[in-house]
């Protein structure tokens, strides 16, 4: 392992933070603040590409690990590492951030410096969540995402922005207190006390934690509640539409693209990693909630008059697929869940960018204010259609692979889950295409829309990478899946033992 491999995770995590500190020092009126933020985020993306390039795809377990003692009491380690799950989420984050910078180029005119500082700090926190292997470090990054995100919504949003920001903050903060309690219980009951993910996992599997079986259900629930609110799983989803509708475009992109995945990632990593038995035992009601989320999210999306709210509800529906895949405990299901996370990050991120572009021109998200836009904005309409099709799950585009795998996993688990889940695919085609039809087809209904400008070079630059990623992910999914699969298999290892134990009895 060379020096770069040993420090790559710290670099990827802290480059944006360092950039934010440098931004602090740049004079306020300087017009290059945006350029600087773009350079920093592109640099971080470039550095993060080192991860998949040098990743040992056949190995399970964590790679690029860095681990040293940080604070003696309580025993906190600076322990980072990635496996097939977290590596791609890191890359997704670094991929979306430059696009967020580009898309905010003109729409943010006020307090520009603070905006990009918050964006970069948020990026650091998000990456930190995915790479942290010390529970304390994880919890710190987890909470640290809240503050910049809430400020982005509250300072740069529209409409009832303060209400949305506070609601977002309180919902997720209160839920994560339960996780903190579970983390502290684990710390107190390990001997010697530790927050280390790997050590605790081994201790649990080796049965070295006293009273674990009695507490396990509550610990499982503590973690699960925090993650379920973040996902958001029905019925914890009410903060999401508010936050999305009022957030600035870049905020929505990162919120839908990455923040929600923190929840599903947490389920994969901690609920499955620490509590396989409890995950198994509670899978049925969780899957039911996921199915309700898929169908309910889709139905509510269908009737939304507001484009952004429609996309927000579609996120609830799509994230339902992820949870369904995770708790099917099949190889296909887990691979698919992971893939839906990545695909949803790209295509929903792009959808929010597209909605934001329209908002910049017309200052409204109401679908009824548009109609016939394909005539004045042909390029925009093409991009939009492409992304909508990717989101719907058209074969050869990114949405298809993940949903297919999740559904086949769900079928293997229990056919009815697969059948009900599959309706979600149909619903998503309905609401997205219907929305598309109302916005783009027909005659131009409103006079103002006649003269709407088509995409300019900057907006195209922001959209091309997303569209390209959607296509590549659709035709060559193995690039991603062959790194994910070893992680899936090691995550599922305890379940096959569990199954054979049940058989033996």
């Amino acid at each position: 392992m060379n020096a770069l491999d040993a420090n790559i995770l710290s670099l990827v995590t802290f480059i944006p933070l360092a950039g934010a500190v440098l931004l602090l020092l740049i004079p306020r009126r300087h017009r290059d603040i945006r350029v600087f933020a773009l350079v920093i985020s592109l640099m971080d993306f470039a550095v993060s590409l080192h991860l998949p390039v040098r990743f040992q795809r056949t190995l399970a377990g964590f790679q690029y690990q860095v681990d040293f003692a940080w604070i003696p009491t309580p025993n906190i380690h600076y322990h980072m590492g990635v496996d097939g799950f977290s590596m791609w989420l890191v890359v997704l984050t670094t991929f979306l951030t430059p696009l967020c910078v580009l898309i905010s180029w003109k729409s943010i005119n006020d307090r520009v410096k603070e905006f990009f500082i918050l964006l970069l700090v948020l990026e650091t926190a998000l990456i930190g969540v995915f790479v942290a292997l010390d529970l304390f470090l994880f919890y710190f990054f987890w909470e640290a995402t809240l503050i910049p995100m809430a400020l982005l919504i509250g300072m740069y949003g529209h409409g009832r922005k303060v209400y949305a920001a506070v609601k977002f903050f309180l919902y997720t903060m209160i839920a994560s207190v339960f996780m903190l309690a579970a983390i502290l219980w684990l710390y107190a009951n390990t001997n010697p006390h530790t927050f280390d993910f790997v050590t605790i996992q081994n201790a649990i599997r080796g049965g070295q934690i006293p009273n674990f079986s009695a507490a396990a259900f509550w610990l499982f629930l503590g973690f699960f509640v925090a993650f379920a609110v973040k996902v958001p799983l029905f019925p914890f989803h009410t903060w999401l539409p508010d936050a999305h509708v009022e957030a600035p475009t870049a905020g929505s992109v990162l919120l839908a693209g990455v923040l929600l995945k923190m929840g599903t990632y947490g389920m994969l990593r901690f609920n499955l990693g620490f509590f396989p038995e409890q995950s198994r035992a509670n899978a049925s009601w969780i899957m039911v909630l996921a199915l309700i989320g898929i169908v309910y999210g889709a139905l509510v999306a269908m009737v939304q008059p507001n484009m952004k709210k429609l996309i927000a509800y579609s996120s609830i529906s799509h994230l339902g697929f992820v949870v369904l895949g995770i708790f099917s405990f099949t190889q296909a299901g887990l691979n698919g869940a992971m893939y839906v996370m990545l695909a949803h990050g790209v295509s929903t991120g792009a959808l929010f960018m597209l909605a934001g572009i329209l908002y910049e021109r017309r200052h409204t998200y109401e679908i009824s204010d548009f109609g016939g836009l394909a005539t004045p904005m042909p390029r925009y309409a093409t991009f939009f259609l492409f992304i909508v099709l990717a989101s719907v799950g058209l074969p050869l585009l990114n949405g298809f692979v993940g949903e297919f795998l999740v559904l086949s996993g769900a079928f293997q688990d229990r056919a009815i889950y697969g059948v009900l889940g599959a309706t979600g695919v149909i619903w998503s085609a309905c609401y997205l295409l219907w929305m598309y039809q109302r916005v783009f087809f027909g005659k131009v209904k409103h006079e103002v829309n006649q003269r709407l400008a088509d995409l300019d070079a900057r907006e195209r630059t922001a959209l091309w990478p997303a569209a390209a990623a959607a296509l590549i992910m659709g035709v060559a999914p193995l690039i991603w899946l062959n790194a994910i699969d070893p992680a899936v298999q090691s995550a599922l290892a305890p379940f096959s033992q569990l199954a054979s134990k049940v058989m033996g009895q």
Partner: protein, 489 residues
């Protein structure tokens, strides 16, 4: 007769004076300021006197650091210089220096011309330093009085504001009442154990049956000291006094005297093994946390809000006193230090922003501060996040150590009350942040630029807050070591 001979045989030597050298330094500088105040031209004297005071506190820090090499007793075992007292000496003198830096600009803006202001701060610091190294109850009482009387006067320094005089008088009347309680407690303790030396009292109480009188003595002393740290139910004075007193002084008296009194409490409660400690502390801690946080929820004046928050924080700190000495003492010491860092910082921002006559101290005045002065708002945000207890700030580990010490002493309910209270606390601190960033400013005028002195003060408190949150190990280890020294018999 015997006593006289004893005294003559043990005339204080060089060593004895060396062990109170920081106090001597503070006294000399304080007196120098009082003399020079009369000689200098009033218009130019402010800065000069402030600088002398700053030098005095810095010298005291330096002297304390040198003192660390020669621990031991002085003046017939009335003063004990050990790692514990060094910790509080450095804490108090650093707070003093930072507060003096904050005061420079404040005094100019408020147009208060009075050199004795800086002298009084140094005299107060003297009393507080002496409190942390005194191990004899009568000396502790004298030190407490030195510190209290200085703060009574400091509270009334906004002469033109009636509310400030009210604060001063209220604080003085109630405070004297409280010290009387303390003195009565000392007398009862003397009656119960035949000594006023903390170590002797500890040995006597541990050696046999604890007389009823000792319980009463401890309870009365706790009333007096509880008043000084603004612990419920002796907290009623706090909001009024904090609202009226000059903002830098509030930053001073909500941290330095509290730290010193907590040092005394630690010695009395743990070193003297106070009887009935647990339940008395338990009740006071639970009450302070709850009343403080609930009170803060409805405040619209930032100074009053921070006053209630300081009551709540006294409660969190007291939780450590109910724990076992092994980790309770070090947790309390760590908490005092990190609370001092964040609270002095928060009040430094408040005092800068208050403006002429302290008109801008309401929550609405802070609306849009994030736009009007991003630096000040950003710094205040970090202090507030630390007061909430968000990780990588000192406030987080302070709470963490206190609550884990309480859990190890099996104080589950007290911990639950504490954790619930911190959740309530998050709400009102966040309210300030929300107002600063998410409301439009009412008044577009830019905030006055941050002068050098205040900038330094803010940098020091910010650095301390972050340092305690990122690398708490060294301070905690030092605290544990001095706690072990304290409990050694």
């Amino acid at each position: 007769m015997n006593v006289t001979i004893h005294l003559v045989q043990n005339m204080p030597g060089k060593e004895d004076y060396l062990r109170i050298l920081p106090e001597i330094v503070l006294a000399l500088f304080g007196m120098a300021i009082m003399v020079m105040d009369a000689l200098l031209d009033e218009r130019t004297s402010q800065r000069t006197l402030g600088t002398i005071a700053l030098l005095g506190s810095l010298t005291a820090i330096a002297v304390t650091v040198c003192q660390a090499h020669t621990p031991g007793y002085a003046f017939w075992d009335m003063v004990h210089v050990d790692a514990f007292s060094i910790f509080f000496h450095i804490l108090v003198t650093t707070i003093t220096a930072v507060v003096i830096l904050t005061s420079y600009e404040y005094m100019e803006v408020q147009q208060i011309r009075a050199g004795e202001y800086y002298g009084l701060i140094l005299f107060g610091a003297l009393g507080m330093c002496l409190m942390s190294s005194a191990v004899e109850l009568v000396l502790i009482f004298i030190a407490l009085e030195i510190s209290s009387i200085s703060t009574y006067i400091l509270a009334g320094f906004r002469r033109r504001a009636a509310i400030s005089s009210e604060a001063s008088v209220k604080y003085f009347l109630l405070g004297s009442f409280a010290t009387a309680f303390f003195l009565y407690g000392v007398a009862l303790m003397f009656g119960a154990t035949g000594s006023t030396s903390i170590t002797v009292i500890g040995d006597t109480l541990r050696s046999g049956v604890v007389p009823m009188l000792a319980y009463a003595g401890i309870a009365l002393m706790f009333v007096g000291l509880g008043f000084k740290v603004a612990a419920a139910p002796f907290h009623v004075w706090t909001p009024d006094v904090y609202e009226g007193a000059p903002a830098p002084v509030v930053g001073f008296m909500s941290t330095a005297p509290k730290a010193a009194v907590f040092a005394v409490l630690l010695r009395i409660m743990f070193q003297a093994d106070a009887p009935g400690r647990l339940w008395m502390i338990w009740a006071a801690a639970a009450l302070s946390m709850t009343l403080g946080n609930l009170g803060a929820l409805v405040q619209s004046n930032v100074k009053r809000l921070l006053a209630y928050s300081s009551i709540a924080h006294a409660g969190y700190l007291l939780v450590a006193f109910a724990a076992l000495p092994d980790n309770g003492i070090s947790a309390a010491m760590f908490y005092t230090a990190s609370y001092a860092a964040m609270n002095v910082g928060a009040f430094a921002v408040v005092s800068h922003f208050a403006g002429m006559g302290e008109r801008q101290v309401n929550l609405e005045d802070y609306s849009g501060l994030g736009r009007r002065s991003p630096v000040l708002a950003g710094t205040l945000t970090i202090f507030l996040l630390s007061l909430i207890g968000i990780p990588i700030t000192g406030g987080f580990f302070a709470k963490f150590y206190v609550f884990s010490a309480a859990l190890q002493a099996n104080l589950v309910w007290l911990t639950i009350i504490g954790v619930l209270n911190s959740a309530v606390g998050a709400y009102y601190y966040l309210r300030i942040i929300v107002v600063m960033y998410m409301r439009e400013p009412r008044d577009e005028a830019p905030v006055a630029p941050v002068p050098l002195g205040l900038g330094t003060a803010l940098t020091v408190s910010l650095a301390a807050t972050i340092y305690l949150g990122v690398l708490p190990g060294r301070v905690l280890e030092y605290a544990s070591r001095s706690a072990a020294g304290l409990m050694m018999r």
